[in-house]
Each structure stands twice: as C-alpha cells, then as structure tokens.
C-alpha cells in the first residue's frame, strides 16, 4: 500500500499510522505502528474474522485524533456476498482505544472466531525504516488473566504495551481472541484499550502529569472546539482561501506538542509522522508565521527553548553556552546516547531566530513581562552568535559539526548533504556559512537593540548592537554580492569563496532587512523571475544551476514555508505586487492538497504540470507548511503592528476577490481586517 493511503491519527506525540483497513503490519518500507515518545508500541495489529483478513470499504478521519474503518471479510470480488460488516473506531489520547463492532446481516445465525494479532518490536523512531535485527535488550510477552503485556527491557530502560479488552477475551502471547455467536441482525461490540508505558525503576511513568488536555474523547473534542473558536475567522469570496485557513488551524491544533518535563506547555512540533517533537528552527519559524492567529504558541515556544538553552560545551550534542536546541528525542537511541538528541544543538539559525521571535511576539502581544523574563537568554544567544559561531573570525555565523558521526553536516534549514554548492556543482569545504543565517543575525541584533532600549533599560547595549548590525550589513553586502548575477551568494567557504548559485535564500535576506535598498529591486525580480518562481512558489535552487533538479530535496523543489518567508521579505521592502504573486501561487497549490500543503513539491514549471507534484517522501501535515497560508494571509493583507495598533495595508492578488479576517488578537484587543483585490480585467473581457 502506498504511504499516501496510510491513515494517521495523533494526540501530542502519540500517533498511529495504519493501513486503510486499520491493520498494522510494519515493514521498513511501510513503517506503520502505534508510536509514543519516539518508540513504536505496536508493530503488529491485525484483525481477522474466522481466520480471514478484512477489506476496507471506506475509512473516515473523523478528527485528527480519531478515525473509523468500514470493513467486510473476504476479497474485493466477494463484497456483494458480504453477510458481515465490521466497524473499527479508534482514538488516541492518553491511550489508544479501538472499538470493534460486528453486524450479522444474514438470515442465519453465525459463529465467529475473532482475533486481534498483536506484537511489537519496540523500534526507536530512528530505526523504523531499517530491518530491526539486533535489539540490544530483551523483548517479552506476558499473558495475564485480563491483559496481554508486551515489553522491552534494556537495563533500567523499560517500555511496555498493555492490551486489555472490555469484554471477556482469551489472551495469548500473540494477541487476543473472542468466540462469538450472532443471531440474525444481531451485533457484537468490544473495546480494546492499549496503554503505552515508559517505566523507570521506581515504576513511575516518565510522562506523568503531562496531558495537554484531558484524554477522554469529549475532552479532546472540547479542546479542539475551543482552539478553533479562539482563532480569528477568515471569510473569503473564493471559499478556497477560508477552507485552507480552517484546515491549517485544525492541523496546528494537532501538531501541538507538550515536551516531557515542562509542565504540559505546548509548542508546535515539526510534523507528522516522523517529526512529532520539538525542533528549534521549525517551532520558531512556525510561531513567526502564525503570530497573528495563534500567538499563545509563541510564548510557550520561547519559554521552552529558553529553559533548554545550551549551558556548557558538549561535542557529542554540539551544545555551547547560549545555543538554542535543534531537536529533542525521547527514544532508546537518545537514552543510550546512540543518537545525540538529548537534546541535540546542531543548528546555527535557531539561536538568532529565537531573538527575532521574542521581538516580533512583543510587537503583537505587548507582553513586556516575557521580554524581561528572557533578557538573559537573549543576551546569551547574541553572545553565542559573536563568540561561538564565528569559526573563521570574520564576523559571520559558520558551522562545522563536532559530532562527526551523527551530527548534521549542514546546520541551516537546507540540511541535506548536497544543499550547499558552488555554481560548478562541487561542494565547499567546512566550515561553511549560508547567507540567510547572516540575515537572521542582523535582524536579531536590530530587534534586540529595540528590546534593550525600550524594556531592558540599557541604551548602551542597544547602541552597541545597532553598530554591530550596521557593520555586519556593510560587510555582508561587500562579501556576498554576486555582481554579475545581481544576487547574494548562497554560501561562503572558509577562504571567502562564494557559493555563487541563485537560491531561494535571498528571499529570507529581504525578510531580515540586511539587503541594501538599492539592491532590493534586483532580488525581488529574481524571486518572481522564471528561474526561481515556478508559478506555484519559489524554487529552493534556480533552474539552470548545475545541481538544479525539480525534485531535488533542497536543490529545486518548492517549499511552501520558504516561499511564505520570501513573500514576507518582498512585502518588507515594498514589493507588494510581487509578494501577492507568489502568495497566489502557494494558495492555488493548496487547493490540490485540500488545504494541507506538503513539506515540498516539485519545482516543475506550473504550465508544464498543471498541478503541483508532491515530493515523494514529504511529511504531512508539517508545521511550517501549515503555517505558510497563515503568513501569506498576513503579507497579503499587510498586517503589521505599528505603535500599539494593527496597521492593515492590503494588496491581494488580482482576481482573489474579497477577504476578511475577523478578531485578530493582539495588544489592541481584537480587530478585523478587510481586503478586496483589483478586478481581473482580462477575465471580465472574456
């Protein structure tokens, strides 16, 4: 079965990936299962009736945390003769709960042997795409009168899956079974509860006291209803924009994640299914995108990242004092230090972006208390930029991994191994620096200067930061400008040679403000020009570059999140028309995915494919793709906090009609914004 036919439900970082029948039969190519805290808790979950597998007539994703499957026994050709219907309903909350209903449509009574095969390999999330051969611990299965206990033990590390039925059942080491007699038109029900347990030696679960909300179905529903009610309302003349917005608000609710040990506060996790954890970069960028709509995510993200800010040097985790984390994981490989995610700090953009988010959050919320609360963390982050990130000693942020085994080679958002190259296609040596990160550093200093002056009562520090930022801007415009192309280089190598390819990163430079005014026009024209703009969005690497490939992960695909920041950058420098053009491309593309934009899609020209080609292994929903339509709404409407008020300066794409955003929260209370596009004169003439 193709991955796109898998069914996913989740709550926090507990989630289920299954086949369309509801069955789970995990393989490296189809890594289905019940997962929690980065561990698989069920790798086999197969329902049979009289020894036969079932077939799906249909399934519904009722909500992000529940789904329902309608099944019949036998092969597809036998559907017409089906005398039995089987309905599986499941939900994830604190536990995974499945209700099975069987209806006998025959005029005769039937005797049924119903069986659920259950098994687990307790794979770490990092192992699920490999054959799991040599687990270092012991897997066991214990049958008790009223439950089946599947477990994994390695030293004090213990994970268990406890399966129990609401009706009487026979438990054996490989599953549970029922013998059922059904009269004509009679039905039978049972509920199976699957608990995931992460035990320490004291017998206490690691996750105690961590629920985001109650885990009963009603509580989950109520929580989602409240989340939706609290978010602004978007109405659009063309229903698609508001439908996309609604999809995004619900997906953001699903992507909320409460890290262990931080008291149930939530932040946006990076994406389902493999990235249901906190990532510094993804969480911060998603918060920046969604500030006008769900500002509460920003406050918790800032607090959580501050609480885990680096405090010492650790080469395995690439931790430095002041550095903001990259990724946190809770599985076996992190526990036994086979992977460095406890947490791992190998990113160079999360640290300046942390400062950027705090300032942007204050502009919207007026939450001065948080700015004061996080003053020391901001100062430490900026000190990290100057003291620990400048590996070459020339005033830029560089990276070179210290964990040469498991660390990331490229520590910017384009983190695949071949994402940074010279125009001839070869890869530069380390350390490397990428342009957008220098922009973030500039922006962080400018924004921190405002915070220092207005809230930290330190005008001298503000002046120092502004001076440093101005020097950085000068230096950057000298060293990174590719004169014959009219754009900024993607990267620099340690000897100062430019990685002189044209890339989407220049859009982030506009957003940061580091671009000289007299060069902005050239950058804007590149972003909407044929080499970068596909018609759907901005390609990560321009057509015509040696490494350009329309389905190259960071070498030619379009990432909706990336394009949304390009649009914000264009708007910042006054290119409202250009911003609207690329916003329109992404919002059009969203229609093909029912409002749920994937991580990336192909960079093929729009006129060639007519629809956006999804990148094969893209993660979905993904937080910053979910945030992209929200940021595009902000840029199209020109929403900007200004001296305590919300300024609205709309510039919609031609033909978009009317859009209204109601109840935008902020320091102003709640206000509405209205916009209307110019008429599409071409269409009128038709």
């Amino acid at each position: 079965m193709a991955p796109s036919h898998t069914v996913r439900i989740l709550d926090g970082n507990t989630f289920v990936v299954s086949e369309a029948t509801g069955d789970i039969e995990a393989t490296p190519t189809e890594p289905t299962g019940l997962f929690s805290i980065d561990t698989r808790f069920l790798s086999k979950w197969i329902l049979t009736v009289n020894g036969e597998r079932l077939n799906a007539l249909s399934y519904d994703d009722l909500q992000y945390y529940e789904s329902r499957f309608f099944l019949v026994p036998g092969l597809a050709t036998h559907y017409v003769d089906a005398k039995l219907s089987i309905i599986r309903e499941r939900a994830v909350g604190a536990s995974f709960r499945e209700t099975i209903t069987i209806l006998n449509h025959d005029e005769k009574a039937v005797d049924l042997e119903i069986r659920m095969d259950a098994g687990c390999d307790f794979a770490d999330l990092f192992e699920v795409k490999d054959e799991i051969l040599n687990k270092k611990g012991e897997i066991y299965s214990e049958v008790e009168p009223d439950k089946l206990r599947l477990g994994y033990r390695r030293g004090n590390f213990k994970r268990e899956t406890i399966i129990s039925s609401s009706t009487s059942a026979r438990y054996d080491p490989n599953g549970i079974a029922y013998t059922v007699h059904l009269e004509p038109n009679e039905q039978w029900d049972t509920a199976i509860d699957v608990q995931t347990v992460a035990l320490g030696p004291g017998g206490k679960d690691l996750r105690i006291g961590l629920s985001i909300h109650g885990h009963e179905r009603l509580a989950l529903q109520q929580d989602l209803d409240e989340w939706i009610a609290k978010a602004p309302k978007v109405n659009s003349e063309h229903g698609q924009v508001s439908a996309t917005y609604q999809r995004c608000v619900i997906d953001l609710a699903a992507l909320r994640f409460a890290p262990l040990s931080l008291g149930g506060q939530t932040l946006p996790a990076a994406g389902l299914p493999w990235f249901m954890t906190m990532f510094g970069r993804d969480s911060i960028l998603t918060c920046l995108q969604t500030l006008p709509f769900t500002p509460e995510l920003s406050a918790t993200t800032l607090r959580i990242l501050a609480a885990l800010q680096g405090a010492r040097f650790d080469d395995f985790r690439e931790e430095d004092p002041g550095r903001i984390l990259h990724e946190m994981r809770y599985g076996e490989s992190a526990a036994f230090e086979e992977q460095p995610h406890s947490p791992y700090y190998g990113s160079v953009d999360a640290t300046p972006l942390f400062v950027v988010l705090l300032d942007e959050y204050e502009k919207w919320s007026g939450d001065v208390a948080l700015v004061k609360e996080l003053e020391q963390e901001c100062r430490k982050a900026l000190r990290w930029v100057d003291e620990h990130a400048d590996l070459v000693g020339n005033g830029y942020i560089w990276y070179e991994r210290r964990n040469t085994d498991k660390g990331l080679e490229n520590q910017c958002w384009k983190d695949s191994w071949d994402s940074i190259s010279y125009a001839d296609g070869t890869l530069p040596p380390f350390p490397r620096a990428t342009c957008e990160v220098q922009g973030y550093a500039y922006d962080a200093k400018m924004r921190a200067a405002r915070l220092a002056r207005e809230f930290w009562d330190d005008p001298a520090y503000a002046e120092q930061l502004e001076r440093e930022a101005a020097e950085l801007k000068e230096r950057f415009n000298r060293d990174w400008w590719v004169a014959d192309g009219g754009y900024y280089a993607l990267g620099l190598d340690p000897d100062g040679r430019q990685c002189d390819v044209l890339s989407s990163n220049i859009g982030h430079l506009l957003w940061s403000g580091i671009v000289h005014e007299d060069r902005a026009e050239q950058i804007a024209q590149h972003l909407v020009g044929p080499r970068l703009f596909s018609g759907w969005g901005v390609r990560t690497l321009a057509e015509g570059e040696v490494r350009y490939n329309p389905i190259g992960y960071h070498n030619g695909t379009v990432w909706p999140f990336d394009t949304s920041f390009c649009a914000w950058g264009l708007r910042r420098y006054g290119f409202a028309e250009e911003a609207a053009t690329i916003a329109n491309g992404i919002l059009d593309a969203a229609r093909y995915f029912d409002g749920r934009l994937p991580e990336a899609f192909g960079g093929y020209p729009r006129e060639q494919t007519k629809f956006p080609v999804e990148y094969p292994t893209a993660c979905s929903p993904q937080a910053w793709s979910t945030g992209a339509p929200l940021l595009l709404l902000r840029t199209m409407l020109g929403l900007e906090p200004h001296e305590g008020h919300l300024a609205v300066e709309p510039r919609l794409p031609v033909g978009m009609g009317r859009i209204e955003v109601l109840d935008i929260p902020g320091r102003w209370g709640r206000v509405d914004a209205f916009a209307r596009s110019r008429l599409d004169l071409d269409r009128l003439a038709d």
Partner: protein, 122 residues
C-alpha cells in the same frame, strides 16, 4: 568523604547562587541509593539562590540514582536527560526543576567546543 558528589554540593552551597537557576524556585531532593543505604542531599532554590543540606524531607522534586551515576553527572561523564530517559535516574514531582538543575552539571571534561578555522590546518 571528599568524593566528587560531595565536592559538587559543597561548592554549590558555597557559591550560593547560579544564574542558570534564576527562574527556578523549589526544593529538590537527591536520593543516592547503594544497597540498603541511601544518602540524601536537599537543594533549596529560591530564584537562583541556593542552599544545600543533607536533610531527608519532603521536596517538590525527588531524583533517585546510584552514587556512581550521580558522580558521573557532576563530573560531566554522564548526561542527566539521557540518564532520565534510560531509567537510570528516576524522577518524581516537578520535572521542570530537575531539567533546570541538570543544566548546572558540567559538560564532558574533554569537550573541545567550537574549533577556530585555521587555513591549511585540517
């Protein structure tokens, strides 16, 4: 007994303040179990102000470990969060306090930190 753990707590008590704990308040008890014997350390944190004693009393958070593991933590050989995930260190009560406290443990002794680039030296 001048082992590394004792030195760590004595030093913490002498310093009396750690900026990394400036946002934390509460009591944290460390129970070090070895056979039938348990050694207790009690750390009172009041917005960064720290007092250490060996009282055995109720606390907002309690962590349990072997003396050997804890010595590993205070000398930078072991990582606290990994030890918690592994189950080698147990935790009851306010997890936030423990996560904050963990940050004052030193990093690995031989950590090099970021390496400055020098042309021709690689």
């Amino acid at each position: 007994m001048a082992d590394a753990t004792t030195r760590f707590f004595k030093d913490l008590d002498r310093r009396g303040y750690d900026p990394l704990l400036a946002k934390s308040s509460g009591t944290l008890r460390i129970d070090l179990h070895e056979g039938p014997q348990t050694t207790h350390w009690l750390v009172r944190i009041d917005r960064g102000e720290i007092q250490v004693s060996q009282q055995d009393m109720e606390a907002d958070a309690v962590i349990g470990a072997t003396p050997a593991l804890f010595e590993g933590l205070v000398t930078g050989r072991e990582n606290g969060l990994a030890a918690l995930l592994r189950g080698d260190m147990t935790l009851t009560g306010d997890a936030r306090l423990v996560v904050q406290m963990e940050r004052i443990f030193p990093g690995p002794q031989h950590a090099q930190g970021p390496r400055r680039y020098q042309k021709g030296v690689r």
